[in-house]
Amino acid sequence: MIWARVLLASAALELAHLRRNRSFVALTALAAVSFLVMVSLFGLTGSYAPVALINRDGGPYAQRLIEALAGAHHSFALKYMSADQAVIALRSGRLVGIITIPAGFSADIERGATVPIDVQIDNINVDLTSDVQRALPAAIVAFGRRHNFPGLRVQMVEHDVLPNDTGYIPYLVVSALGLDAMVIAGILGALATAREFERRTVKLLRLSPASASAVLAGKLTIAGTLATGALAITVLAIMLIYGVVPVSSWATLFTLCACAAIFTCFGAWLGAMLKRTLAAVPLLFGLVMPLYIDSGALEPTRFDGEPIWRIAHLSPIYYAVGALEWAYHGIRVTPEPVYVDLLVLAAIAVASVALTLGRLSKGGVR
């Protein structure tokens, strides 16, 4: 009973503190949305390379080749412009390449000749260059297959493991929820404990007969609730702006709440360790991007090689992304079952709370 009353009092105090720091809380939520936007910007570079198409032929085969290019595994965003405009755009970095279909293309194809199409590539970035280099044969194969040209002996037959591909941006924005959970909940958790050291009130906590666990629980309840609210706004943005709807609303809600709670505890430990909000916030910002990338955020981590995958197990976001992608899209991005991901996250939370309580009761005071 007393424990519960202390918890409520501590929660009320934490809420009062956060009310006085509304700008800070708002900026934390803004950071979450910012990460979402930035991840989306990165996602836009994953497909549809802007390429100028100059059609000097205009015949039916040229048209079919253009259709094949447009349908080549989301590879090209074809832009129609004059050759001069295309060269200017290519040299100023607004295009990845220029594809020129030569005059007489259709006639030559009709009589069975092989026609080279001229492709200029801005090879400044090897990743983009490779994508274009691989996509062109794919388009040419589709073109040849469509016309059943003689002499085609081998084709690729695809069997997908999953019924549908998950779009790159939908995949990224959901993994960004893991990142957001760590940033928002982590910062609010860190704020809750670091404040005690910054204002030297930790001494009062130690002298107080009230249970430290009840005080911490009260603080973290408020921090976690706020973090969940901010995450809910992010999810709404994902649903309304990106049009990405979860396959299982309840599983998504549960996973998000779990992530918020767990990362709040993690943040509380960080705040108690560093004793300064000013140190904890940038540390979280600095840690979060590499942890995010090495967590199955762009693709299942194990595809990046065994060493990277093993290191990924040190990142809480690895388990969060595993659980979130499963809840939101119904896909598995970790070889471990989802319940294992959630159990590891719960263990991190328990360890964080224990360590935080230890710091609050014994750590040095500035």
């Binding site: 720091n21 700008s23 800070f24 900026l27 934390t28 803004l30 950071a31 910007l41 836009l44 570079t45 497909s47 802007p50 595994h73 590879s75 040299r91 970095g93 092989t114 199409i117 001229d118 200029q120 590539i121 090879n123 090897v126 990743d127 983009l128 260059t129 490779s130 280099q133 996509a135 044969p137 040419i140 194969v141 073109f143 085609l152 002996r153 081998v154 084709q155 690729m156 695809e158 998950t166 790159y168 995949y171 560093l274 909000t277 000013l278 916030v281 940038p282 540390l283 910002f285 600095g286 840690l287 590499p290 762009l298 693709e299 299942p300 194990r302 595809f303 990046d304 090689g305 070889p335």
Partner: protein
Amino acid sequence: MIRKIWGMARNDLAVWLRSPAAIAAALLPGLGMGLLVAVLTSSVGQQPVALVVQGKGRLSNRMAKIIRADGDAYLINDMAPAEAERAVGEQRVAAIIVVPENFDEAVAFGSAAVDLYLNNVDIDLADDIRRSVTRSAAEFDAPQLGLLGELHGPSKGILLPNPFRVAVAEHDLRETNVSFLQYQVIPIVVLIIISIGLLSTGLLTARDFERGTAKIMVLSPAGHLPLVLGRLLGCTLITIALVTPLVAFGFLTRYIPYCAEESGAHSWLKLIFSGPCAWMLSVPSWTHALALIALLLAVTLTTVGLGTLLGIAIRDERLVTMVGLNGAAYLFFLGGGFTTVAFLPDWIQAASRFVPTSYAIEGLRQALFYPDLVGFQQDLLVLSGCATLSSALASVLLARAWSRA
């Protein structure tokens, strides 16, 4: 006058050096991004796939050889069917490519298939593999559709007929040997400068208001102008002091033996050193070096001016940290850090022309990677304009804010 300016600058430097949390705040996001580049680079381009060759004939072997030869696209693991299936389930491979038992006979009838069992977990990964396997299958009938054919076939005047009737004559725009890693390191340098410039100046300025030391500035007999100039000089020196060792380290990492691509070191060692090795900058000629210094200085001054404005506007250390970190991230991404501006929607492309970091990133790449300095003048001009404007505005507003403190 100079002694007063220098006195203020020295004081700011001393305060900053006694603030490890603030130094960490400025450095950590940039260094975190650097680590991210290292991890990202090791996973770019190639996908792990299992190759199951069930056909025993000459043509099956040829097909398998074509797939194995495309080392740019795949990390091939030869496996038996059962092992491959397990590997897909455990996510050790992203796909299984099967050259079936009847491949040779089917080729004779013109109906041969290369089966692709694909973990299509996201479209980017799945499309990469689809493109690569389609190209490999096409190479069987049309060898010039392979990478070597694209680069050295029709574009060099050698055109072999192929049944698809279309070949690719690829012409690369640039003669460059810049790796993906080196290319991506440049935005990180810019991010670090932005973070340090914005946060160091913003925090020092906000601290003066929070702790009431701004009033002491007003009462100082030194006068406003030397103190304002001292603040800007001090913060510029802080940024230079933190960035110079990092840039110098970038020029020295080439001497780490594990950084060479063919070092033969164990993958774990390579991974451990991937962070420092990612931080590898090309050594420029002296003209390019001068251009580089001018550009870095212009970026530093711009961010110092912006940081001062941030500190004046917010006057709260914690809020300055949050706004500074958010602002640095936006400047980084909209300027072309980790994104290729050409891919973004038109309105973002237009907006990025108003983001100074886009000029900084372009200019740095030009100075470090290319033999000429095409477009560099414009980049430097824009950045110098931003530096002048932000410093002038910061000076005027800081003097006014102090006098009203």
